[in-house]
Amino acid sequence: MIVRILGEGQVDVPDTEMDSLNKLDEAVQQAVDGSDDEAFTQSLAALLNRVRQVGSPLPDDEIVPSELVLPSADASLAEVRELLGDEGLIPG
């Protein structure tokens, strides 16, 4: 699975890690939904650390879309809200 960390680039994460990443990702989503700044920063850091740990960087000249796109570690809850604000564009 290809994952992008905004501002850092893309990594290839083994499919065996998907479950654990999805759980960490859900935790971030919950923090966003609950407007919990502290939980957001912590859960995002945990998710990014895991991605960096298990992922291998994609070569610069590879052009593929990512399955997960994650904010950078210093992103604020407000910035992520803004990022998700275009949600209307997505069908369903």
Binding site: G7, D25, Q29, V64, L68, P71
Partner: protein, 254 residues
Amino acid sequence: MSMGRRIALIFKAKANKVLDKAEDPRETLDYSYEKQLELLTKVRRGVADVATSRKRLEIQMQQLQASSDKLQGQAQQAVTAGRDDLAREALTRRAAANQQLADLQTQHAQLQAEEEKLQLASQRLQAKVDAFRTRKETIKATYTAAEAQTKIGEAMSGISEEMGDVGMAMQRAEDKTQQMQARAGAIDELIASGALDDASQPLGGKDDIQRELDSMSAGSDVELELAKLKGELPAGSASAPQALPEATATEEKK
């Protein structure tokens, strides 16, 4: 749905919007390539802008450090001369200069991190743009419009995600640089006002503490000269004033 998937879909939706507009999807390849080259130029300029801001901060940091050192020296000089009031004033200004310096060091570290990120983003984008050009030519040469659809979709959503990422990094860096420039302007004004002392001003320009210290040392120079002159008088000169009664009388008349 998880946050990461939602953001990924937002990026894909943006790429699809561009694709949907074109009658022949192959046209979007050339259009996108133009946009990529534009972005690449912008990013390079962005890196240069951040570097300029960083250098400006470095000059200010040097100025503040020089002020701080100078004020420290003045405080020592004042204490030696028994002028605690002047020493206190110098130390107070030094504390203010040091506070500004500490703030600038933090800003500088942030700006440097931003610059490095942008530099890497620029390299990544360059590699991707080169790869895209090759892929675009292959797709155009090999497939009919209908066949090319899937290949183009992949290439377009991949590259537009990258462009979106780089675009946001640029925006962030620009915002930081603007904040920094406003701040740098404020510090320049503060230095110019003399509130933090200005060690960078041209030679001969002196602040009020220095002026007072100088006049004190000028005063003690006079005392020294006087003592020296007294020492040079011949032995038994203690009676000298009595030997010149007329001169003294003349002085008193004035």
